[in-house]
């Protein structure tokens, strides 16, 4: 089995202004996604919704070893990472197909293989 990360970038300000009812509808799509993964032999091993990128801290270190810590994400992109899944799968193409379920609510979805060495 290969471990994949499913990255969910999106428009954070839009999500912040989404009503609770609409958020529930979105979570229902995520439940369908989880169910389809299980039915088709993929295994979710981790994942979470993320806090707004303004709550992120970035640590940078210069050549002399001095650290600076700044607020916000490391890359200022229009679409910020809003959540992710970690999924074990032997079928990348089918995994991509199942991810299309999320596409009804999420924007772009990036799926990338991990190297396979868990640090835990």
């Amino acid at each position: 089995m290969t471990e994949y990360v499913v990255l969910l970038p999106g428009d954070e300000s839009q999500w912040e202004n989404t009503s609770q009812a609409d958020k529930e509808a979105m979570y229902a799509i995520h439940r369908q996604f989880a169910q389809a993964l299980e039915e088709r032999g993929h295994k979710v091993t981790g994942g979470s919704e993320l806090a707004h990128s303004r709550e992120a801290k970035v640590l940078r270190t210069d050549a002399e070893g001095n650290h600076t810590i700044t607020d916000g994400p490391y890359a200022e992109t229009v679409e910020q990472l809003t959540g992710f899944y970690i999924v074990q799968s032997d079928d990348f193409d089918d995994l991509l197909d199942v991810c299309k379920i999320l596409g009804r609510g999420e924007g772009a979805i990036e799926v990338r293989a991990a190297a396979g060495g868990s640090a835990s």
């Binding site: 990360v5 970038p9 979570y27 979470s48 919704e49 990128s53 890359a75 229009v78 799926v111 868990s118």
Partner: protein, 116 residues
């Protein structure tokens, strides 16, 4: 609390492929020091290195759900790996992130742990 720790670096994958053994060993030592320090105050839930950006597939936000090669955002810094850690607070997570290889931009972001 859980935090996502993102490790990003310019030209990360080319640099890593061309790195000598001493450099790689220093990085591995740093990863181990970080993981050990996290375990003293919490736990490492998960951690892994990622494949190259061009190995990613992105499902586009269009009606046809088009699948394209590559990541969702072309950034100068490439995401090379990540951890999920369980720690008391963000300050602790940022403090321990100092142990990671100094070449990387390290982003520490709270996870919401929403039950869906």
């Amino acid at each position: 609390m859980r935090f996502l720790v993102l490790l990003a670096e310019e030209d990360h994958f080319d640099r890593w492929e061309n790195a000598d053994d001493d450099y790689r060993q220093r990085c591995f030592d740093d990863y181990n020091a970080f993981a050990d320090a996290v375990r003293e105050r919490g736990s490492v839930v998960f951690g892994d290195a990622l494949g190259r950006p061009d190995s990613a597939r992105t499902i586009q936000p269009d009606e046809a759900r088009t699948v394209t090669d590559g990541p969702y955002a072309e950034t100068v810094e490439q995401l090379g790996g990540f951890y999920v850690v369980e720690l008391p607070d963000q300050d602790t997570a940022v403090e321990l992130a100092r142990l990671l290889p100094r070449e990387y931009h390290v982003e520490v972001r709270p996870m919401l742990e929403v039950e869906v």
